[in-house]
Symmetry: C2
Subunit: 314 residues, 2 copies
DNA sequence: AACTGTTACGCGTGACGTAATGATG
DNA sequence: CATCATTACGTCACGCGTAACAGTT
């Protein structure tokens, strides 16, 4: 058995059972992969892939289990490298964070500022995407941490740690009648055109749920993936906006007014997602704790080991 | 990086940092191991072992973490092989159980009989040892399951699943005055010479604890690692015995009488120990469920994944 | 006809074993 | 002097790439 064989099988599975594509991705030849996979299957005594004639069409039952284990093993190898880097260059390296616009724009800046001051040698990479992409990146090892809201129903490969709870507010241009509604109701909101998040983002599902529960269908005239866009169009008078409360800054958003809407929508939870069993660099733990002070290192480590007892409240 | 390198480093660490010995154990040459380990260290950029001159004297801090990860990776490889065997020969293979005399003699026979009837093609191996050895065997991959009482305070590498609770009884030759004590007390027991388990076994610690709590020091004249020896000497009149209740069989042990002692000693728990993240053969799950019917497969699997929420009461 | 996986084959690297050397107690 | 790790070196095998071949759509 061979590490390459494991990498090959993994990549082929990842690339939709296409050996040619896997070969290209790994900068090697198709025949090499083909052969090594057959050798692996031979050694294990089980086929991993279903072949119809000369084409891979599916993964066998044992194949699924084998690929799961291979993922663990390859994750372990990545961890080994991390340990090496940690000790050979403790204060330099890269921290890659996959996150959404909302987090990157409103929640992360002070954290990143503090982090950079503390670890000037660490290169920070911020990858922006939707919650699904973000999680995939972390699972694939392309990012160390995912930071998002509602980020996908507990994937097995990821450990999700609760960070902050946040609520929404309704924004409108000054003088808009919605600002006079006391108390603010869903029914009132439903009377005006609404601008809010795209359905893949920022707990848009919470918003839908709240309206659905009252049998209301808001007139959503525009959806965006970030609050800045929403605010822009609300200023233009396109409608009223529903955004994360943290996205409204009274002093900066002078052309807008906001009304708290905590009571209308279930609050959302920002979470950090980390690959299960991942080995994190020292500075990654520091980053996490800067972002969510209650997530102290030992807690995070216990959670990474799959200890579900550790569920740090909020 | 290379699987061999990982195996080498692992074996060297296991063999007390002796490359020569590791080479012998792996049927290869010292220079090969020496070189491959250096290559691994070079690739990771960190020393795993502390060298004083030409001798390995210790493991470095990163080395400890690296070796931990290596253990996981090698465990994964073992799991791959298991999957292969499971599917290539579903009903044949080997199940290796490490256990103590008490379990092997009194608790396991009916289970093993049932198991053998169901899986005639599976070779059963029973390795007998003390709780410490038993756990080590499972961790080292020499055995699939450990079955023991009080088997060591929760090792991180092992998942321990509670199986049965059991109590003790006092045995004595017919006519012995202890048999007339109603109710039986620790003080009464302390008046006679006692024969019981060796301190490494069968919750001997529970016995000590009970006496210590009353400031009594029983006159232990003989300790043994199994109940058969104890019973033999009790029959000879050497003293009274304290054994697991399951070890006394009124119909078979005609030269002995027993008195329940559940109220005197804290009850003990038989547990099954399995390597964390191990991949078990189908028949291993069946065996576990035969032994402890409440330990259904999904429960055991969840526990193996390190899900500590799963703590199946008794 | 285009695409994809498999077989055949030759090359080069790299892992391994033997022998020799260097440290250490 | 015995033990043990490291260096040096030759050998062999295995993984890889190229080329040709064989199914699939």
């Amino acid at each position: 058995m061979n590490l390459q064989q494991l990498r090959y099988a993994h990549e082929v599975a990842k690339r939709g059972l296409n050996i040619t594509e896997a070969a290209a991705a790994l900068y090697t030849s198709q025949p090499g992969i083909s052969k090594q996979i057959r050798l692996l299957e031979e050694e294990l005594g089980v086929d991993i892939f279903v072949r119809q004639g000369r084409r891979l069409t599916d993964i066998t039952a044992p194949g699924r289990q084998i690929l799961d284990i291979i993922e663990d093993v390859l994750g372990g190898l990545a961890n080994l490298k991390q340990v090496g880097e940690e000790y050979s260059q403790a204060d330099s390296g890269t921290l890659t964070i996959a996150t959404t616009h909302t987090q990157a724009r409103y929640a992360l800046p002070p954290v990143i500022r503090a982090f950079m001051a503390r670890y000037p040698g660490v290169r920070l990479e911020l990858h922006q995407g939707n919650p699904t992409q973000i999680c995939d990146w972390v699972i694939a090892g392309k990012a160390d941490l995912a930071i998002a809201t509602e980020a996908i129903a507990e994937q097995h490969e990821l450990v999700m740690l609760p960070c902050q709870q946040w609520n929404r507010c309704v924004i409108a241009p000054p003088g808009h009648p919605i600002l006079e509604e006391r108390p603010l109701t869903l029914e009132a909101i439903a009377r005006y055109p609404v601008v809010t998040y795209d359905s893949a983002f920022s707990g848009r599902s919470q918003i839908n749920k709240a309206f659905a529960a009252r049998d209301l269908s808001p007139n959503v005239v525009l959806t965006a993936i970030d609050a800045d866009i929403i605010k822009t169009y609300v200023s233009l008078g396109l409608g009223i906006g529903i955004v994360a409360a943290m996205a409204y800054d009274a002093s900066a958003d002078t052309g807008l007014r906001a009304v708290d809407a905590s009571h209308l929508f279930e609050s959302s939870m920002t979470r950090i997602g980390i690959r299960r069993n991942a080995w994190l660099r020292e500075y990654a733990y520091v980053f996490i704790e800067l972002f969510a002070p209650h997530l102290a290192r030992p807690l995070v480590q216990a959670a990474l080991q799959g200890d579900s007892r550790v569920d740090p409240g909020l």
